[in-house]
């Protein structure tokens, strides 16, 4: 029998797969076979390691050597040098930006030091398509434990843990379970909301790709507690890898008797089906999600009644988000007290964030609640790309708001983010630098919500479109100071009168950028200028005649033929013809071209 002493873990998440990680896995396996080490060294394809910035990642265990940006052709060298000769392949090691030196293993990386992995405990560690690896790490032990407890006691434990919904709302999870349990009905449902739709968010996808069994197990636990025997996962069809891993997990769970009739001889029966979403943002809202699963239009309805009382096909339905479910098994196994010891007073445990935008280490992270934005962006995220200055960070996706320099030391939790004018949301975190125009950022998010509005209620369907039109006017240089007043008024009406959270939160990016960057709005409407030089209609390139040598390079590279002049005399730009592409400024060797 094979006794493996070394494991080569390779990321098999969507991001790394796009950079040929399946070929890397195959090449590593080939090299291990060729070296005659297939009984001693095991190559495993795992879920996401989180360090997506420099994927594909290959990690050698137990020495935790962390190779980054690996290519299939590097595989033989890794095996020959590291596995056979015991020498790390220096050129593939992660280089610390601070010291400029190679970091020998992942335990010394600033990216990982402040992190704490509960929901992501198995991601990047086990083979997600092998139920035995999950079982070896206490998988389904929580289900076994729960099946010997009274449902009321389990729910009490979840309530005591302080776990709140990770999809964004932050509703106490245990309370939701209790409400669903207490409704009398012959048939109840458990739904996993995997309709992750925020631009730039990939937390739920990564959990499903890296540890699908944790969701299967938690749904079964929820079924036992609430009295449901049927689970449904609503997942968007554009997550094919997550869908595949989930299908494999469900099939294996049935084969091993973790799903199906009379689970582990306890008399409890539960099974899971997958339902595919077509990728509408509004279907992340639980009532719209349920309608979509019923085969109807994905439109929300007024709550109450809540799905816990009247949900899928009129039956009581417990809807929880992927990350919420992923936290359940550890809480059962390690106790509510342990979980409640992590985090802040009202937000317990950890939170997974998808860190994106102008930050050095784009990736998937999990930190205890109460970690500050500064720690996330500058310690884990490694600061702003290209040495630029931090300007703002958008949390909560299109429903959230932007936070600025003054919020950097605020501990992240549900209540602090709300008090700061943003929200936790599902965990997307988009970092912006000094070059970003905040009016344009607000416009970008509003374009998204306008596109995704289901159209059922007027404030959202028409109000948000009007908001967007005003923003378009402002960025085109036709805005007035009255427009700013109108933005505020209209935003308040939309928030108050929209039917569901999509409409109620859509104006948030506008309001929070106005709150934090009022001067920028004023500059756009009063001075008709964009301080970040992003709005093309509000900027112009110019040639400084004192510096220009008349070399003619700019006029030759200009794609619009907007630059003319006489050799060895200063050139000039025809503003009516200029398309503001910036090519002339990039090419000028004398720095004679500026923007204002």
């Amino acid at each position: 029998m094979a006794h493996y002493h070394t494991y080569i873990l390779t990321c098999g998440g969507t991001g790394c797969r796009a950079s040929h990680s399946p070929q890397i896995v195959a090449a590593l396996q080939q090299a291990v076979d060729d070296a005659g080490l297939s009984d001693e060294v095991k190559v495993i394809r795992t879920g996401c390691f989180g360090f997506c910035e420099q994927g594909p990642i290959v990690k050698v265990v137990p020495d935790n050597t962390f190779y980054v940006s690996v290519k299939p052709e590097d595989a033989s060298e890794i095996v020959r040098e590291h596995i056979v000769m015991g020498r790390k392949v220096e050129r593939l090691l992660y280089i610390s930006p601070e010291t400029g030196k190679h970091v020998p293993d992942s335990r010394h990386m600033e990216f990982y030091k402040p992190q704490m992995r509960i929901a992501l405990r198995n991601c990047g560690f086990i083979d997600p398509e092998n139920i035995e690896e999950y079982i070896a790490r206490d998988g389904y032990a929580a289900l076994g434990k729960v099946l010997r407890m009274k449902p009321e006691d389990v729910i009490r434990e979840i309530m005591a843990s302080g776990l709140r919904g990770r999809g964004g709302g932050g509703f106490p999870t245990g309370l939701k379970w209790k409400i669903t349990r207490e409704v009398q009905a012959d048939c109840k449902y458990v739904v996993c909301n995997a309709d992750e739709g925020d631009p730039g968010a990939f937390m739920d996808r990564s959990i499903l790709e890296g540890d699908p069994h944790s969701i299967v197990e938690a749904m079964a636990i929820n079924g036992y507690c609430t009295g449901a025997s049927k689970g449904l996962v609503y997942i968007r069809a554009e997550y094919p890898l997550a869908v595949h891993r989930l299908q494999v997990a469900i099939a294996q769970a049935r084969e091993y008797g973790m799903l199906g009739d009379d689970i582990m001889g306890t008399g409890f029966s539960f099974d899971i089906e997958i339902r595919y979403g077509a990728g509408a943002f509004v279907c992340g809202e639980e009532t719209a999600l349920i309608h979509s699963m019923e085969g109807r239009r994905g439109e929300p309805t007024v709550k109450p009644p809540y799905p816990s009382e009247c949900g899928y096909k009129g039956a009581p339905t417990n809807v929880n988000n992927v990350e919420t479910f992923a936290n359940i098994p550890p809480i059962i196994l390690r106790g509510a007290e342990w979980f409640a010891s992590i985090g802040t007073e009202k937000s317990k445990g950890t939170k997974v964030f998808a860190l994106a935008g102008k930050v050095n280490n784009v990736g998937l992270i999990e930190v205890p609640m109460g970690t500050t934005l500064r720690e996330v962006i500058f310690d884990i995220g490694g600061g702003i790309k290209n040495g630029k200055r931090f300007k703002a960070v958008q949390t909560g996706g299109p429903s959230g708001g932007c936070l600025t320099e003054k919020h950097l030391d605020t501990p992240i939790d549900y209540d602090n983010l709300l008090a700061s004018g943003s929200m936790m949301g599902s965990g997307g975190m988009i970092v912006m630098d000094e070059d970003d125009c905040m009016v344009s950022v607000a416009k970008f998010y509003l374009e998204f919500t306008v596109e995704e509005s289901c159209g059922k209620c007027t404030p959202c369907r028409i109000g948000n479109r009007r908001l967007l039109e005003i923003l378009e006017r402002i960025t085109a240089g036709h805005g007035t100071e009255d427009d700013l007043k109108e933005l505020k008024n209209l935003a308040a009406v939309i928030k108050d009168t929209s039917l569901c959270a999509l409409g109620q939160t859509a104006p948030n990016p506008v309001l929070s950028t106005m709150e934090n960057f009022w001067d920028e709005y004023v500059a756009h409407v009063r001075d008709k200028s964009c301080p970040a030089h992003r709005c093309r209609d509000l900027m112009s390139y110019y040639i400084d005649p004192k510096i220009c040598k008349g070399c003619s390079l700019c006029s030759r590279v200009c794609p619009a033929n907007a630059i003319s002049g006489v050799l060895k005399q200063p050139y000039s730009i025809d503003q009516t013809a200029c398309i503001k592409c910036g090519t002339c400024m990039d090419k000028c060797k004398f720095g004679a071209i500026g923007v204002r």
């Binding site: 006794h3 002493h5 494991y7 015991g86 020498r87 091993y256 582990m264 001889g265």
Partner: protein, 134 residues
Amino acid sequence: MTKVKSIEELTAMRERLRAGMAVRENGNHPEELPQVRVGMGECGVAAGAKDTMREFFAKLAERGVSGVVTQTGCMGHCDAEPTVEVEMPGCEPVMYGNVTPDVVDEIIDSHICHGEPVRRLVLTESVVGRNIKS
């Protein structure tokens, strides 16, 4: 059939599978465990370091002792290969020379299990004093 019919069966299955996960689990917190680093330079391999490493795996497993065994490059004592470094939690590492498979069990018994380095095999005798923190 792999179908698990009771919670006890699941527990038994987990115990059986856990052994296969031990190398990875231990790698998560190596500083809490005895660490054995086998010099695997060309000199070490030529002197039989591979067999030494296999012996460490086998004997640790036989005794049911958790440890992290890794390989490293040449440690600069090519005259005394195979060389092995043993680091106990909270202690300075101790470097051994001429670690052929037949002395592996002695190192595990004396140093790893009882905290007493095998002095006759220690390469840098002068530093042994500060290696052991009583």
